[in-house]
């Protein structure tokens, strides 16, 4: 497994889509800085525009922003930024997918207490979540092209996070939805944006139809928003990824959040700081596509000097068998 060929500068492997290596073993993405890696002009411009958006909207609703808070290091730091740097009244929202590490829950409690923000946890039926994860593990629900930086299960889970956050924002007139994504996890042209829900709904229909045909109408509750809510609220919130505006290393993020009582969970894999099912998700992605869904993100961080290459390799090769086995059992998937 470890003798797979990788770029000598980043960690993209020979199985990554459209990868090519030059004579020095450097990949085409490193050579061309593809995928809109670090465009400081775009980031600077976004910084100014986001500040203006906040200045105009601050204080006009019960909450200025809802933040999708997983309890992991990145969203913890994003919450701290939203409250302390941007002075926003934040509603913290956690989706309990049934596989959140107990340490992550303690972290959430400590951090929201420390920062003095309101917190909502929403736990969809465990039975539903398990069947959703089983389905997205075993079948090809999403086009592989759209899974270059995310596993299928993460994609399913994040869709529910996004949909629930949007629902809450519309119900409570909250103008901003914040998330703790880093550049690499998302491209730099999605630092902030607004959605057209009608079009979004239209474009997601084929996937939702696939899910519904297997899991039934319950899918609607978690993945869709009623037309009446859309009409009633009459506005679309902005989605903003605040962490993308910061020039900060992983270690610096951890140093910033440790004083709030945040602890590193020991029951998750090297690529996660909150979710027990992540090890399994990466395992399935590796088996199916031959590369880790974290390669692209970590490679971006390496090129940016935000993480050492060795550390990134450690992360993707930390694949705790006990967590993978636990998930196989919980999802009732038989394997050899």
């Amino acid at each position: 497994m470890k003798n797979i060929k990788r770029c000598t500068r980043c960690i993209l492997s020979e199985n990554f889509p459209k990868i090519e290596f030059d004579e020095k073993g450097v990949c085409n993405i490193c050579n061309n800085e593809l995928l809109c890696s670090t465009d400081s002009v775009i980031i600077d411009k976004a910084r100014g525009e986001i500040k203006n958006l906040f200045d105009v909207a601050r204080g006009k609703s019960e909450y200025d922003a809802i933040l999708c808070y997983s309890g992991g290091k990145d969203s913890t730091y994003t919450l701290k930024l939203a409250v302390e740097k941007y002075n926003l009244k934040v509603l913290s929202f956690t989706l309990d997918n049934g596989f959140i590490s107990p340490t992550a829950f303690r972290n959430i409690e400590k951090v929201v207490s420390k920062l003095g923000v309101d917190q909502i946890t929403y736990r969809p039926s465990y039975k539903f979540m398990k069947s959703l994860f089983r389905l997205s593990s075993l079948e090809t629900i999403y086009n592989p092209r759209t899974l270059i930086r995310i596993s299928a299960n993460c994609n399913s889970c994040i869709s529910i996070v996004n949909n629930t956050a949007l629902k809450l924002a519309l119900e409570k007139d909250i103008p901003f939805i914040l998330a703790g994504f880093t550049l690499g996890q998302i491209p730099c042209n999605t630092i902030y944006y607004k959605n057209n829900y009608e079009f979004l709904k239209d474009t997601r229909k084929p996937i939702l139809d696939k899910l519904k045909s297997q899991l039934g109408d319950e899918v609607s509750r978690y993945f869709e928003i009623s037309d009446s809510l859309i009409t009633k609220s009459g506005f679309y919130p902005h989605n903003i990824n605040l962490l993308t505006l910061e020039d900060i290393t992983e270690n610096e993020i951890i140093e910033e959040i440790l004083p709030m009582g945040w602890e590193i969970p020991k029951d998750v894999d090297g690529c996660s700081t909150n979710c027990i099912i992540n090890a399994f998700n990466n395992h399935i992605h590796n088996e199916k596509y031959g590369y880790s869904p974290y390669e692209l993100e970590l490679s971006h961080l390496i090129r940016n000097g935000q993480i050492a290459r060795e550390r990134a390799l450690e992360k993707i090769y930390d694949r705790p068998v006990d967590q993978i086995e636990y998930t196989y059992r919980e999802l009732e998937i038989k394997h050899n």
């Binding site: 593809l34 607004k194 959605n195």
Partner: protein
């Protein structure tokens, strides 16, 4: 790179199309030959709904107009050819 085209006086539809194809193939790791110009990028599995956001930001950055939420429709974003028409109608020069 793509930013250069905003400085030229006239942008032809061909230039818009080439610049869009460059972006889509680079950003979503797909060969240009595999992109069907008259089909939806979503229906053909090249992008998901986040990809639409990426394309609308690309348009704003390269053709100098902000895509409003109301303009993000199948009518405008339904295929590369529809996108070319949409950009051609709305593009601005510096």
């Amino acid at each position: 790179m793509n930013n250069q085209i905003i400085n030229t006086e006239i942008i032809t539809k061909k230039q818009i199309k080439d610049s869009l194809l460059d972006f889509v193939s680079r950003q979503f790791l797909v060969d240009k030959e595999d992109i069907e110009l008259d089909k939806s990028l979503i229906d053909t599995g090249i992008i998901d709904s986040m990809g639409l956001i990426e394309i609308s930001t690309f348009i704003t950055q390269n053709f100098n107009f902000k895509v409003s939420v109301d303009q993000m429709t199948r009518q405008n974003f339904g295929s590369i050819l529809l996108l070319v028409d949409f950009i051609d109608k709305n593009k601005r020069f510096n």
